[in-house]
């Protein structure tokens, strides 16, 4: 943990301001990535994913929160705070902190990369170390496929299909959080979004999630579901 923090600080130090002088404008962006209601195999479902960003083109601070509630009970909730620095045209470096709520509360140090891979895949890969000393990793990938624009003429709103995959892996068992060594879960989803403007974009989404490895085994023992699918509708918005 301490090593990580030191490494992060060292990186921060080397990240001498490249652009951030005078001429680079500071601006902000608020993005509601997911805000949806619907049903899953477990019952009704609500989820959110919101992020806020402030900074120059080179140096930014990110705040992100995401979570999910099923049958009115919050199942998962987390908050991440990152310093984000431009590494190259398409890649950013992130370092920061994550806090999980519920079950047990956990703090993690985080370090990772985010960016746009060839063929416009948005990729986020982050490594964490929790306060219990358990290392974990998360990979998220998604892309926006523009299906049609012709619905209301060439310059009209766009209909996008957004496939997404997310998976988590960890180094050891965290019984309190009910996550065990190895791959813990995977989620696949497809979102069909109708973007009137970037500010107003309603969507429908279907997804499938499954616990993996020992996590799945342990949870099955406890009588919990290990896989579930869902269908939701929601709104995405960019400010």
């Amino acid at each position: 943990m301490r090593v990580l923090a030191a490494a992060a600080l060292a990186l921060l130090g080397s990240a001498a301001p490249a652009l951030a002088q005078g001429h680079d404008v500071i601006n902000s962006r608020f993005r509601l990535n997911q805000f949806d209601w619907g049903g899953s195999a477990e019952g009704n479902r609500f989820s959110w994913d919101f992020d806020a960003r402030i900074g120059t083109a080179d140096h930014r601070v990110f705040l992100r929160t995401e979570g999910e509630a099923t049958r009115g009970r919050t199942k998962d909730a987390e908050l991440q705070l990152f310093y984000n620095r431009r590494l190259s045209t398409f890649w950013d470096f992130n370092v920061g902190w994550r806090r999980d709520f519920l079950r047990g509360n956990r703090n993690h140090a985080a370090i990772g990369l985010s960016g746009i891979a060839p063929y416009f895949y948005e990729v986020e890969a982050t490594a964490y170390v929790s306060e219990r000393g358990i290392a974990s990793g998360r990979l998220e990938m998604s892309t926006d496929l523009l299906v049609a624009r012709q619905v209301f003429g060439d310059n009209g709103p766009g209909l996008y299909l957004r496939p997404r995959i997310a998976t988590n892996v960890q180094s050891g068992d965290d019984r309190e959080m009910r996550r065990f060594a190895g791959f813990t879960d995977v989620r696949l989803s497809a979102q069909l979004r109708y973007e009137f403007t970037p500010r107003i974009a309603p969507y429908v989404e279907v997804g499938w999630e499954r616990l993996l490895g020992r996590t799945a085994t342990e949870m099955r023992h406890e009588g919990d579901r290990v896989s579930s699918s869902y269908a939701v509708f929601g709104i995405r918005s960019l400010f």
Binding site: L19, D24, N27, T89, F90, Y119, L146, D154, N155
Partner: protein, 572 residues
């Protein structure tokens, strides 16, 4: 037209270049001036096609009043700032002492503070069509622009019975700050022309599935979008401050020669301009006279001006059409024998899709005269700086590959392919840079002693725009000695066209016109292409050199062009 310097201006320029802040002795009596004018800068509301929005005016109107002067006159302009922020006025294309150029932070010129007054004073050393605008962030696009018309000291060979300014601009109801924020918020925020799955099906039918997939993969691999022609949409396009419904009208009597002084004073819009039923005779470019060239249409970059003469033969209305390259709308005006008439409005032309050859990477022998550039020619740390062409290859502007009749083969299924394809109707002729020939023949112009590479670079996904990979504020200035003859070689490593504007001096565009290279103050460098210009650094100072797409300039695409005096404070 005289390009020589005036001694009185030399001292100020020299001092400014030497880093001294020159307080212009502006308290001189006006009596000595030939022309004097007071212009107030203030917030206002303008109504375009019945919709009212915020604007900033100079001299009480948008566009600002046309300043009609005469070559050789000394003019005095007193600018009063009634805004609550600093402002400035830059005289676009005029040859003058640096401190009079009006770009804050350059040549010792300081922005005019709120409530302050600045007195500009300079002698007109040229004639032609120019313009003036704010050089302070966000103000120009809010309406601070107007035309300058300087009559030549000697009468012109070709006279016209009517003389109209056709000032093209784009007006957004969004504030410039909001637009910039959106551009940084998401790549392609305003792009409404991206290719869809339906386009994919259509292209597959036309080009075959394999070729279509290959094309999509090529763009995907580069993480670039071939439909990215204009960063901002949502504009109303104006002619002389009037919308398409307002329909600005210029009157004529049939058979008369009408001179149109077409100025692109927009923030972000490159236009294709045509009068569908009239041939235009191009007689001036960027204010400087060129050998008359008959064409049906031309593409005009931001900051460029073209003077054309038309001779409407019949007593009917003729439409002036200006379509932005992304075809997100149009500006129109009318020439008519009497007010209240309007001519037919042709359907918008197809919007082009960039091709791999616009990126300097023609597949399957496009036959391009590609000069391959040595990779990483100018030591950028980031091989991906310049979000286009990671390999740094560029295609030179082929004088024969203009968007003329040759554009037709590039048209397919109502979409045109490639930056140069303007959708020019069959049999019509579009102006190319190669057609511009100065009226001044300079057979003995010296060869350049040095070449300066100007790489146009950027990262679209982050909306960072730079020159040589460096944003303004961290720029590596271009330096030349007074009197030095140099070549500027522009290498556009991005997938957008950049209208590159140099203050204070004319560039001589190397367009193949031999001893008649046209003088330009803006050179529109197409995506993935090269262009070059010669220049005699005869104006001492520290001049802005930037992309005239205002949000590109804002995002950092600007540098300093420093002309060092041979002798500081030299003989006056």
């Amino acid at each position: 037209m005289s390009l020589s310097r005036r001694d009185s201006l030399r001292l100020a320029g020299g001092m400014a270049a030497a880093g001294t802040i020159v307080a212009y002795p502006g308290r001189r009596s006006f009596a000595a001036a030939d022309e004097q004018i007071d212009l107030a800068v203030e917030r206002t509301r303008i109504t375009v096609d019945g919709v009212t929005s915020d604007a900033i005016s100079i001299g009480g109107s948008v566009p600002a009043p046309t300043l009609r002067w005469r070559e050789g006159q000394e003019v005095v302009i007193r600018v009063v700032n009634r805004l609550n922020e600093p402002t400035s006025i830059h005289w676009h294309g005029l040859l003058l002492a640096g401190v009079m150029d009006g770009a804050p932070g350059f040549n010792g010129y300081v922005a005019i503070p709120p409530g302050g007054t600045y007195t500009y004073r300079f002698r007109l050393r040229q004639s032609g069509t120019y313009w003036y605008h704010s050089h302070s962030a966000g103000q120009e696009q809010a309406g601070m622009y107007g035309a300058i018309v300087i009559e030549p000291a000697r009468p012109e060979a070709l006279t016209a019975a009517r003389d109209y300014v056709v000032f093209l601009s784009d007006h957004s109801r969004e504030s410039p700050t909001a637009i910039f924020r959106n551009l940084r918020a998401r790549e392609g925020y305003y792009n409404r022309g991206q290719r869809t799955f339906i386009d994919f099906l259509r292209d597959s039918r036309r080009d075959g599935l394999g070729a279509t997939i290959r094309d999509r993969l090529d763009w995907g691999e580069m993480r670039m979008d071939p439909t990215d022609l204009a960063d901002v949409t949502g504009y109303q396009f104006l002619v002389n401050g009037q919308g398409t419904a307002d329909n600005w009208t210029g009157l004529f009597t049939p058979g008369e020669r009408v001179r149109l002084r077409i100025i692109n004073g927009s923030a972000m819009s490159i236009f294709d301009v045509a009068l569908p039923d009239l041939r235009m005779l191009v007689v001036g470019a960027d204010g400087m006279p060129v050998l008359p060239m008959p064409v049906d249409e031309f593409r005009i970059g931001i900051g460029e001006t073209y003077d054309v003469i038309v001779t409407p033969p019949e007593a009917r209305a003729y439409t002036i059409m200006a379509e932005p390259v992304d075809r997100s709308g149009y500006a129109r005006a009318t020439l008519a024998p009497r007010a209240g008439m309007s001519g037919p409005i042709p359907p918008l032309r197809p919007r082009t899709v960039l091709t791999m050859s616009d990126m300097g990477m023609a597949h399957g022998g496009g036959g391009h005269a590609g000069h391959s550039m040595p990779m990483g020619a100018s030591g950028s740390a980031d091989p991906h700086a310049g979000h286009a062409m990671p390999m740094g290859a560029a295609v030179s502007i082929d004088p024969h590959a203009g968007h003329s009749m040759a554009a037709m083969p590039g048209m397919a299924d109502g979409r045109t392919m490639g930056w140069t394809s303007a959708g020019t109707p069959p049999g019509k002729r579009a102006l190319r840079y190669a057609d511009l020939r100065s009226t001044v023949s300079r057979p003995s112009a010296p060869a350049p002693s040095r070449e300066i590479l100007v790489r146009l670079t950027g990262q679209m996904n982050r909306y960072i725009w730079t020159i040589d990979g460096r944003p303004f504020g961290m720029e590596d200035p271009v330096r030349a000695r007074e009197g030095e003859r140099i070549r500027l070689r522009f290498m556009n490593e991005t997938m957008m066209a950049h209208p590159m504007h140099l203050h204070g001096m004319f560039m001589e565009l190397e367009n193949g016109a031999g001893n008649r290279l046209p003088y330009k103050h803006v050179i529109l460098v197409p995506p993935g292409s090269e262009a070059s210009a010669l220049l005699t650094a005869n104006e001492v100072g520290e001049w802005p050199f930037h992309c005239h797409l205002l949000f590109h300039m804002e995002a950092g695409m600007m540098t300093r062009f420093i002309v060092e005096p041979t002798r500081v404070g030299g003989a006056g």
